[in-house]
């Protein structure tokens, strides 16, 4: 008897957001696939974001539905002896969430890694991906576990960043581990290592049965090989909402967008007195100097910090101040894009410490 081709059936049956989500759930129950979801926010429609712009990657629109498009992306590797990397992906508009979308594909890891994610990265001015703080990740996964009645989430692979004391003060070291610990245990482990997670791969357990293996990355990219409905509703949709709330918080911060060129700063607040010890100043300045493709000038370094940061990726400029042991202030200057603010904050979170981001309103 001929085996049913569920994948072709899936592509033929998808017509809208709901049929896409249900179709992916059904497909993962029938065939071995991994769905990769890339939640993002953009002020441009998918047809404008996903278009060929020359170079090694070309995009074609295969189908267009209401709030949903199917694209094909082809990557031509520079070496002639390598074959084309080709695959299909959907872009679904998130209902009730302005400018929020999710890219969904069942294509191979190779396609995602070499074709799709580099396309998004290359056109980063058009896509805003979120970033997940360590604590956000803990609360997101905690909700996922309880809402869908999983016995536990067993962390099988983790990418961490640890702070180690070293001869030259303190070193920030990325590492990989395979802890095979439950959710609480994994976060306790990270805490003991003075580390925070960049990505996690876990098994969602129902009793001893593995319902799905799920990976979640700091930029919101999520992969699963099962239980798609729960992963989508509890993780992917929330990551879209998180990306959207970041954009709302980071948007319209540039002085050029504000009346009379007034500033609209942001604050990163720490629950502890992060800068209590003056040695933290040098650590923080060192962390900021890791900001790629940027100028970082120290206007004042001790005892308070005043930095001028210029992001060459898109010409954004910021003043950064530490005038209080538990707060970093980011003051966007004339030009400041959402992406550049995210880069600065990611740099702080990745290389220094994570805090809570807030508006820092003007008084008076």
């Amino acid at each position: 008897m001929e085996r049913m081709d569920f994948t072709s059936l899936f592509y033929n049956q998808v017509r809208d957001h709901e049929s896409l989500v249900r179709g992916l759930d059904s497909l993962l129950g029938s065939e071995t696939h991994t769905v990769t979801a890339i939640p993002y926010v953009s002020d441009q429609a998918p047809l404008d974001c996903f278009r060929s712009q020359g170079g090694k990657r070309t995009v074609d629109v295969l189908s267009t539905y209401d709030g949903l498009q199917l694209f094909e992306l082809v990557f031509r590797p520079p070496e002639d002896n390598e074959g084309l990397v080709k695959g299909r992906f959907f872009v679904a508009k998130q209902p009730n969430l302005a400018d929020a979308y999710v890219v969904l594909t069942i294509e191979s890891v190779d396609f995602v890694r070499r074709a799709l994610l580099p396309f998004v990265e290359h056109n980063k001015h058009e896509f805003y991906l979120t970033f997940l703080r360590h604590e956000d990740l803990r609360s997101l996964l905690g909700s996922f576990r309880s809402e869908y009645g999983f016995t536990d989430l067993r962390v099988v692979r983790a990418s961490l960043i640890s702070r180690f004391p070293s001869e030259r003060g303190e070193a920030i070291i990325p590492s990989l581990s395979w802890p095979r610990l439950g959710l609480e245990g994994a976060f306790k482990y990270a805490n003991e290592q003075n580390a925070w997670f960049r990505s996690l791969t876990f098994e969602a357990l129902r009793e001893s049965r593995v319902a799905a293996e799920v990976s979640i990355y700091r930029n919101g990219v999520t992969k699963t090989d099962g239980d798609f409905l729960s992963v989508y509703a509890s993780l992917v949709s929330r990551l879209c909402a998180l990306a959207r709330s970041n954009v709302e918080l980071f948007g319209h911060r540039s002085r050029r967008e504000n009346p009379d060129l007034t500033v609209r700063p942001l604050a990163i607040h720490f629950d502890v007195e992060q800068f209590e010890d003056v040695e933290e100043n040098a650590k923080f300045i060192g962390a900021m100097r890791k900001l790629d493709n940027a100028s970082v000038s120290v206007v004042h370094g001790n005892p308070y910090i005043s930095l001028a940061v210029m992001d060459y990726s898109d010409g954004s400029a910021f003043d950064i101040w530490v005038l209080n042991p538990s707060e970093i202030l980011i003051v966007p200057q004339f030009r400041s894009t959402v992406a550049a603010i995210k880069r600065v904050i990611s740099c702080i979170f990745e290389n220094y410490a994570e805090g809570t981001i807030r508006d820092y309103p003007r008084v008076g």
């Binding site: 060129l261 206007v299 004042h300 030009r335």
Partner: protein
């Protein structure tokens, strides 16, 4: 003994950094001192009945003269431009001068500062009030805590001799930046009658203004009406005027650290951007007429000339348009401090005879 070159450069670099710090502290002092009047801590609102200004041109007139006779349009050499001015309820005014480093044992410079303050001790026309005049005003000298004693001693000594008399209330206020866990500027009356501040603060006992409370203001007002240290001004120009123009070039995105890009920029663009972005313009939106345009054209021209003399730019049209050989710096301010320090060190190590100076002069006292 001649200091080794590297040591000399390092010393000059430190000196430039100190100049930048002094300049910033002076701006913070102006903002902080004025905020004692315009900001109401209880309501967390600005007081609508307080007006503040920086560098405003005020015109003295004699006691027998009518205020309108001094005119308002053009600069008069007798006009004064105090570092700060405050008007409360359109009834009383304060004019102040900030001298972070009051000279010690330098009578000539001390004389000069008080001569300047004496010019404030006249009827003044040009206040931001309906008829541009006020019945009275107070004069304040703000000096750093470390030099306040020198200012006070000088004043008392001259006053006792009868050579220095103010007919209007005069005070010396000391300030310092306290580098505590939450740095703040501290203002305290050092001498004189004091000028009662609004609200519950008492200048006699001293008042603290946290720097954090001034971040919004400082981010918008980095330049006052005194020439900033050259590397600091160049840093503002490079980041906020030249880089945005360079960014428009399609080649910018792929520009490597060691590559250069030709960028044309006009002096007017520099003036406009820095005026809109970093002068005290926001304070003067409702009374712009007597406010100077900051930065001064002369400062910008000196900054441009510095770039030209360092082979970082060429004049396309002399004093109008510059062709900058743009490169991406990893530390814009640090690099300009270093360039300036090297030049200053070179000048110090190879002094030239007067009239034979072909290079850039070290930074002069700004006012």
């Amino acid at each position: 003994m001649v200091m080794p070159e590297l040591q000399q450069i390092e010393q000059q670099g430190k000196a430039v950094r100190e100049q930048i710090d002094d300049y910033k502290d002076t701006v913070f002092a102006i903002l902080g001192f004025c905020s004692l009047w315009f900001y109401d801590e209880t309501t967390r609102q600005n007081r609508t009945y307080v007006k503040v200004f920086q560098g405003r041109r005020l015109s003295p007139y004699g006691s027998g003269e009518h205020p309108s006779s001094v005119g308002s349009e053009s600069d008069n050499e007798k006009d004064i431009t105090p570092d700060l001015g405050i008007v409360v309820r359109d009834e009383r005014g304060i004019v102040g001068e900030v001298k972070k480093n009051f000279p010690r044992d330098d009578v000539q410079r001390s004389d000069k500062i008080f001569e300047q303050l004496k010019t404030y001790d006249q009827n003044l026309q040009g206040w931001p009030t309906a008829d541009e005049s006020l019945p009275s005003h107070h004069i304040v000298l703000l000096v750093h805590q470390t030099t306040a004693k020198s200012a006070e001693d000088y004043y008392i000594s001259e006053a006792n001799k009868g050579t220095l008399v103010f007919s209007r209330p005069f005070s010396i206020v000391r300030f310092n930046r306290s580098d505590q866990r939450q740095p703040y500027f501290f203002f305290q009356l050092a001498h004189g009658q004091g000028c009662p501040i609004e609200g519950s603060g008492d200048l006699g006992h001293g008042v603290q203004v946290p720097m954090q409370a001034l971040v919004h203001l400082y981010s918008e007002c980095k330049l006052y009406d005194a020439q900033p240290p050259l590397p600091y001004l160049l840093h503002l120009i490079w980041e906020h005027v030249i880089t945005p123009i360079a960014y428009q070039d399609p080649k910018f995105e792929r520009l490597r650290w060691n590559q250069k890009l030709d960028v044309n920029v006009s002096v007017d663009d520099m003036l406009k951007t820095l005026y809109e972005g970093f002068s005290f313009r926001h304070w003067h939106l409702k009374y712009l007429d007597r406010q100077p345009e900051i930065p001064r054209r002369r400062w910008i021209l000196e900054a441009c000339q510095f770039l030209v003399s360092c082979d970082l730019a060429k004049w396309v049209i002399q004093d109008e348009e510059l062709a900058v050989s743009y490169k991406k710096h990893k530390d814009v301010l640090g690099d300009f401090v270093q360039i300036k320090a090297k030049l200053d060190a070179k000048t110090l190590m190879n002094p030239s005879l007067p009239g034979f100076d072909g290079g850039t002069k070290p930074h002069q006292d700004p006012k």
